[in-house]
């Protein structure tokens, strides 16, 4: 089903353009060319952020954080097996994906932990990446309270994913 979305959308936009007598391909080239220049403004912040995140991941800092956060997680009733995923989710999209697959393999997708992990993955984003790329194209140097707000959303997402799965499916399995 989802395989239809993009092709149909492209067709619909092109056909609507023709119906409005727009020179569709020329308009496409113009828009594409304009956006091509944007990438050079994104690259510096991407290099900076990915280097820091990569070093952070490789250093084992996450393992230490995880040990420190275990009591907090049990207080918020987040299963401890989810902590690595929750910690990695805001900083690394590909890293979170690997751990997510790992959780599904070892606990099963239809287990309590598997479901919590699924909801967590479906309802949160790679916050740091979004921040770096989005602010990368602007002149902004002070992001003010963007990060605290975005991380509050992530934290609420972690707590709610465990809570909602318990409500909908129970904590068994």
């Amino acid at each position: 089903m989802t395989a239809y979305v993009v092709p149909l959308l492209l067709c619909a936009f092109a056909l609507y353009g023709i119906s409005q007598k727009v020179p569709v391909f020329d308009a496409f080239m113009e828009g594409a060319g304009e956006n091509a220049k944007v990438i050079l403004r994104v690259l510096p912040s991407l290099v900076g952020l990915m280097t820091a995140v990569g070093m952070f991941k490789a250093s084992g800092a996450l393992d230490l954080l995880q040990a420190g956060l275990a009591p907090v997680a049990s207080l918020l009733q987040i299963p401890r097996e989810i902590i690595p995923l929750a910690l990695l989710r805001p900083i690394s999209g590909s890293g979170a994906m690997v751990i997510f697959q790992d959780v599904l393999q070892s606990f099963g997708p239809d287990s309590y932990i598997g479901r919590v992990a699924s909801v967590l993955m479906g309802s949160t984003e790679t916050t740091f990446y979004t921040l770096a790329v989005y602010y990368g194209v602007t002149h902004v140097k002070k992001t003010r309270h963007t990060l605290p707000s975005a991380l509050s959303a992530d934290l609420a997402g972690f707590v709610c994913s465990a809570l909602l799965v318990r409500l909908f499916f129970g904590a068994a399995g």
Partner: protein, 209 residues
Amino acid sequence: MTYIWVGMLVLSVICGALTGRMEGVSAAAMGECIKAVELSITLLGSLCLWGGVMNIAEKSGLTEKISGWFYPLVGRLFSGVRRDSPAFAAISMNLMANLLGLGNAATPLGLTAMRELDRQNGERESASDDMITFVVLNTASLQLIPTTAATLRLKAGSQNPMEIITCVWLCSVLALAAGLLVNRALRGATRPRGTKSAARRIAKGGSRP
């Protein structure tokens, strides 16, 4: 961002030394920049594609229509963005792409929106309230169908990969609500000095500069 960046670098070196994984840290320090270039080339492709498609939509008046659908929501969240501005159109298109689960399209559209908001902000060093709201909106994953999670669940042998969908919706909305609440609460505290009175004037319905 500066403190977080420096903090991550320093922590990595300390933890790397403590856990004896300095080899890995060093490899990451030198290798990640190549990955960043690879990622931006991937991004370059989708930026061009969706920039082109959006230009068609704009020239044909489709953008105008779609922003109309989103007006009740976007108009309320972004107080400084006018209905007929290019920023408004870009924000609406980004929301549509997010809802449809088109991550590849949402980012380029989001970047267009950010550049428009930047222009509206007078290219200042400090982010505007609307920029922050927009970024928070994009860090919460708003999508009608959680495709990636469901696909991976199916691959792992789930009996019903889509059973989580209601949970995902509720969880997204609650997370976003928390983000927006904190956003509202901190807004006054982080506003750069000297702009407060101007913001109040606009809020009172005064003329916009």
